[in-house]
């Protein structure tokens, strides 16, 4: 909301308040200010009369002018095509500063001295859209007489006005008007309000003789019409033009400008129809489906039954609350005007302007317009039309209204105010604040009965009043306290804690956490999963790449890997813990995943020749370490089945615990990316597994016996099969088994491999005898040989 300070000052005298103070004070009562500027920030501009204008001797387009600026006559060289003798122009004299810090100096143009500059409006910082078309390609020529020679040009044109650009909150519809702003300033600076003049003479014809109004929808709460006759269409007076410009509205002609002026002043949008084009019938109704209306901007708008239209006996002539229609437009030939001042349902206008277009009018209707000021705005328009457009005003109004004339009242105690704010504010001050805000009230033993003015649509409950007291009193002297509640311990849920534990583990082994986007493209949402689910698709995506929720985190981690590789960062060891969402039998389901990616080297010191590169066994070790940490040691199984097709088919494995699938690990298929190893675990499944608490197991005081055995087996036999047989037959004295060597090559037949195991035997109560160890040891060997076709090596 752009507010002209001079306009504001007309209704609330704030001439004694410094601009800097406004900038400081207003945000502290809830009205954010983006910036305070001037219509033109130039300095050193005066009005000059061109008393002589000759062709430049050395140029075919420049003129040499003699310009009377009051104190003196300056010789100025000017290149504008419209420069002419006897015209009044804006002169930037020696030392003037134009926007963008251009300083005007005496100079010499093609051998002729030039002591200043004749300015276009653009050159003094007026936006292109405000410049009248006849002055777009030349200097601005001012209407006037010799009395204006030498006066300050910006002051004369009102371009020295300051503009406050407010960023208002959505609830304060009342502030989208100069009058509403005036009330706000009056409350803040404790000033009196004086409202604009709404008086006019009426002629002896009544509008009732001319208009048949029919409101056929509940979405219009008030509709007032009036007519004026015999308007003269011309340029608006300077103050109207400059104030519209300050407010961001382009001046057009006096009549159109007045409708905008009153809207800005009252926050009540008005619409002017050309009476002769409109005819006598005005119907307010909902649009028919696919009904068309051509709006003022010449666009054909196709409507539906949620749009409100104004129609005459033939067709829709305006899109209610949003924009007028072309067929009844006020043009330079217009003589008679039918004025509409109405209030429409904000929800409908919001919907229409969202689908069709947003205008200054619809912005106000969407937020809410005070229907009790509608008539006053109408009168103000009549006053201005009489004064500046020579209009004759018809008597009476044609009115439809179903608004409630009763003002809202709210009961509140001083204690409630003080308790909610946590501040002790005296009764006198509370009363004083209500007075400043223009709220009528009665006070009975600390209990207020407050009458809310119609303009404050945002106030309906006690808490709204508490906020008014809080913001006008200010929060600066509020002393912070802590809630008086029963002391209790705070914490996170066990599942959240589980996730934090997993994160802690993974960072402790040098994996780095990433955070990536949930939304991805359809193709990626189906990758890296053995059971493709339909993920959640957004209705109105920003792009194809952010269209649907992901089902696996791996594609995101691969993107991170690619991003880093492209920047020569080749050692990428990362993980992420995140939720994914999908459709499950028409329900939305969610699960928590933990995924990791390892690529390049994990530990690296070239100088010492220490290098651990990522490979299947590293990623397996990471996952085994994690599962062990989660106390699932000995319960998990790696099986080469059920793999996502994006994984290497012979260098990947699914992980099962108690036959339940909990995720997978392995090498990513080289079709997707080279040398990348990943894992993904379902944390909901992991968390659902019961684990026992830690219980100390006594360590044997007696020496343990270590024995090695090596078998030659088929190359494809999985080591876990041998391991299982060893464990199964190891009896209670077998404490630990480790694989310490896998060998193929010399001395081992092709198609075979040798695997060596280290077995540790011990007993908690005594020293084992060689015989009993050897008996178990030999039994294991024969079982492995018999069950797996293995052959003991180096017998």
């Amino acid at each position: 909301m752009l507010v002209s300070r001079r306009w504001l000052n007309e209704y609330v005298d704030i001439s004694d308040i410094k601009t800097d103070d406004i900038a400081r004070d207003l945000p502290l009562v809830g009205n954010e200010i983006e910036e305070i500027t001037k219509i033109s920030s130039a300095t050193g501009l005066v009005i000059g009369k061109i008393v002589d204008c000759e062709f430049h001797p050395n140029s075919d387009h420049l003129h040499v002018c003699k310009v009377n600026v009051g104190k003196e006559i300056l010789q100025i060289v000017c290149g504008a095509p419209n420069v002419r003798k006897d015209a009044y122009a804006i002169v930037a004299v020696d030392g003037a500063v134009l926007p963008n810090d251009i300083t005007i100096k005496k100079t010499n143009l093609r051998g002729v001295e030039s002591n200043g500059m004749l300015c276009s409006l653009q050159e003094i910082g007026i936006q292109e859209k405000y410049v009248p078309s006849e002055f777009k390609d030349g200097i601005y020529l001012i209407d006037g007489d010799d009395s204006i020679i030498g006066s300050d040009a910006l002051e004369y044109l009102n371009y020295d006005d300051e503009v406050i650009n407010f960023e208002l909150t959505a609830n304060r519809s009342d502030l989208y008007s100069i009058i509403g702003m005036s009330y706000e300033f009056a409350a803040i600076y404790n000033k009196e309000i004086s409202l604009p003049d709404t008086n006019y003479k009426v002629c002896d014809d009544s509008v009732k003789n001319h208009i048949n109004l029919s409101v056929q929808t509940k979405n219009c709460s008030i509709y007032i019409t009036k007519m004026v006759k015999g308007v003269t269409i011309k340029e608006s007076p300077k103050f109207i033009k400059s104030r519209l410009m300050a407010s961001g509205v382009r001046p057009i002609n006096n009549v159109v400008d007045i409708s905008n002026y009153v809207m800005l002043e009252y926050g009540q949008p008005l619409h002017f129809f050309d009476s002769d084009k409109l005819g006598n019938d005005i119907i307010v109704r909902m649009a028919k489906d696919r009904e068309e209306v051509v709006t003022l901007d010449g666009e054909v708008r196709i409507l539906d039954d949620s749009d409100i239209v104004i129609a005459n006996n033939k067709e829709a002539v305006a899109l209610a609350g949003v924009m007028g229609g072309l067929s009844t437009e006020v043009t330079s030939d217009t003589k008679n005007i039918t004025i509409e001042a109405a209030v429409f349902n904000p929800a409908n206008i919001r919907n229409t302007s969202k689908n069709i277009l947003r205008s200054e009018a619809s912005i106000r209707y969407e937020k809410g317009v005070n229907a009790h000021a509608t008539k006053e705005a109408m009168d103000r328009a009549c006053h201005l039309l009489e004064k500046y457009a020579d209009a004759e005003i018809l008597d009476d109004y044609v009115i439809y209204s179903d608004i409630d004339d009763k003002e809202k009242t709210i009961e509140i105690t001083k204690d409630k105010i003080c308790n909610v704010l946590g501040m002790n504010i005296k009764t006198e001050e509370i009363s004083d604040i209500f007075k400043k805000l223009g709220f009528k009230f009665s006070l009975d033993k600390n209990k207020y009965l407050v009458t809310v003015p119609f303009r404050r649509l945002d106030i309906s409950i006690k808490e709204d009043l508490i906020e008014e007291i809080g913001r006008i009193h200010g929060y600066a002297d509020m002393e912070g306290t802590l809630p008086h509640s029963i002391l209790k311990q705070g914490g996170v849920s066990p599942f959240e804690e589980y996730k934090v534990n997993i994160r802690d583990y993974l960072t402790s082994i040098n994996l780095n956490e990433t955070v990536t986007y949930t939304l991805t493209n359809v193709e990626k949402s189906k990758m890296f999963t053995k059971d493709v689910k339909n993920c959640i698709q957004v209705a109105d995506p920003l792009s194809e790449d952010k269209k649907i929720t992901r089902y696996s985190l791996i594609p995101s981690l691969i993107e991170v890997c690619e991003y880093n590789r492209a920047r020569n960062i080749n050692d990428v060891n990362i993980f992420e813990i995140s939720n994914v969402y999908y459709n499950d039998n028409n329900d939305i389901a969610q699960k928590s995943l933990c995924a990791g990616l390892l690529s390049g080297s994990y530990i690296n010191n070239n100088i010492s020749n220490i290098k651990i590169n990522s490979d299947y066994y590293l990623v397996k070790g990471v996952v085994e370490g994690l599962l062990d940490y989660l106390k699932l040691n000995g319960r998990y199984e790696f099986v080469c089945d059920n793999l996502p097709k994006e994984m290497h088919p012979y260098m990947s494995a699914s992980i099962y615990i108690n036959k339940k699938y909990i995720g997978y690990i392995g090498c990513v298929h080289p079709n997707i990316i080279d040398n990348v190893y990943v894992f993904e675990l379902d944390l909901d499944e992991l968390f659902s597994l019961k684990i026992r608490n830690i219980k100390y197991k006594e360590i044997s005081k007696y020496p343990s016996i270590i024995k090695d055995m090596a078998f030659v087996v088929d190359k494809d036999l999985e080591s876990s099969k041998i391991m299982n047989v060893i464990r199964k037959n190891g009896t209670s004295i077998l404490n630990d088994v480790q694989i310490f060597d896998v060998y193929t090559g010399e001395n081992v037949l092709p198609g075979k491999k040798s695997i060596a195991f280290k077995l540790t035997f011990s007993n908690i109560n005594r020293t084992l005898t060689d015989e009993e160890v050897m008996s178990v040891f030999n039994d294991i060997i024969s079982k492995v040989e018999n069950e797996l076709g293995a052959e003991l090596r180096d017998k």
């Binding site: 909150t169 919001r350 913001r471 705070g490 959240e496 955070v515 990536t516 010191n605």
Partner: protein, 351 residues
């Protein structure tokens, strides 16, 4: 008793020992079975008993002194030898070590952890909820009906008419209040991912992290909100932070405020970070709107509450002076690795 010449000779020979070979030669010549010193004992049989004792004593003394001198020489030579060996093992201690490092948590989660810790220590529970939400929880029960103009304040990713990607973590507040059947007091924070239909640029992200807080109890006041946030902000941005409440508007709180914290870079004097104002806008907050309490089964005449919400990216960007929000999501390891260090508060929190 012992030949003076031999003593002199031995003395000279010992003085001339300078290598392990000399030492061995000496041992061979004087102390081996046939060595000149060992063979002295053969004289014993020619002596009387009286003389034997004296001679034996002298010989022993002599041997011992030779032996102890030899020991000293060997010890010295051993030490020299060891030192030479160590010297030969000299390495360039300035070459890089074989680093075993710890991975780092993402800077956004780092901030979340910090905030969690602060509030858990004040008795808050940490709650989470689904990111795919019902319009009912994300808007309607938060006093934002379908036609409410406040829906313009945030453009939302809808899945269908009723389902959306949550645009704030407030639905977790709603769920917590609704689930609390006994309508007892509540003190929670809810961190999590939220989504808005913004095109990504340096200051906007269609996905970001938010932390909201909610306290519902009897006699909760705005001063309680201020005091609570003062504790949190001083912990997060260092001691001496002041707070400023600016009135604002949110549909789910009344009164509502924007909360500024005094600039922690210039201490309120005015700098580029606070745009010369001395204040940095940090979060939105307010007193829970009575409609929201009522919607969730709490009687607004009995209970009041406060709520606040802060953007994790904003906190991280301010704290670490990061200029582009997209940096959090591209996960350039050169970016992430800058957040692997500890930070140390210079004041003692236990005081």
């Amino acid at each position: 008793m012992i030949d003076e010449n031999l003593i002199k000779e031995v003395d000279e020979a010992i003085n001339n020992i300078s290598t392990y070979d000399d030492l061995n030669d000496f041992r061979l010549k004087y102390l081996s079975k046939k060595g000149s010193i060992t063979s002295l004992s053969s004289k014993m049989k020619e002596l009387s008993n009286e003389e034997k004792r004296e001679f034996g004593y002298c010989l022993n003394e002599f041997k011992n002194s030779v032996q102890s001198r030899l020991n000293a020489i060997k010890e010295k030579m051993d030490l020299e030898y060891l030192n030479k060996k160590l010297e030969s093992e000299k390495i360039d201690i300035t070459l890089p070590g074989t680093k075993i490092t710890k991975g780092y948590i993402h800077p956004l989660n780092r901030v979340i952890e910090e905030v969690k810790e602060i509030f858990i220590s004040m008795g808050y529970d940490v709650k989470s909820g689904p990111e795919v939400e019902n319009d009912l929880y994300n808007f309607e029960l938060l006093n934002i009906p379908k036609s409410h103009p406040a829906r313009d304040m945030q453009d939302t990713f809808y899945i269908n008419e009723e389902i959306l990607l949550r645009s704030q973590t407030s639905p977790v507040q709603i769920r917590t209040m609704l689930e609390n059947k006994d309508k007892t007091p509540i003190r929670i924070i809810c961190p999590g991912k939220v989504y808005r239909r913004d095109n990504d640029d340096a200051t906007h992200s269609h996905q970001f992290e938010q932390i909201e807080g909610l306290v519902v109890d009897k006699n909760i006041s705005m001063a309680d909100l201020k005091g609570t946030l003062e504790v949190a902000m001083n912990k997060l941005f260092g001691d001496g932070r002041k707070l400023r409440f600016r009135p604002s508007f949110f549909p789910f709180t009344e009164p509502s405020v924007e909360v500024d914290v005094s600039c922690f870079k210039c201490n309120g004097k005015g700098c580029n970070m606070c745009k010369k104002t001395g204040w940095i806008e940090i979060l939105g907050a307010g007193m829970v709107h009575p409609n929201v309490l009522r919607n969730c089964g709490y009687d607004p005449d009995v209970y009041t509450g406060f709520a606040f919400g802060l953007g994790v990216e904003r906190i991280a960007m301010l704290k670490y002076e990061i200029n582009d929000i997209r940096d959090f999501y591209t996960n350039d390891l050169r970016f992430l690795s800058q957040f692997k260090y500890i930070e140390k508060s210079d004041d003692d929190a236990s005081k």
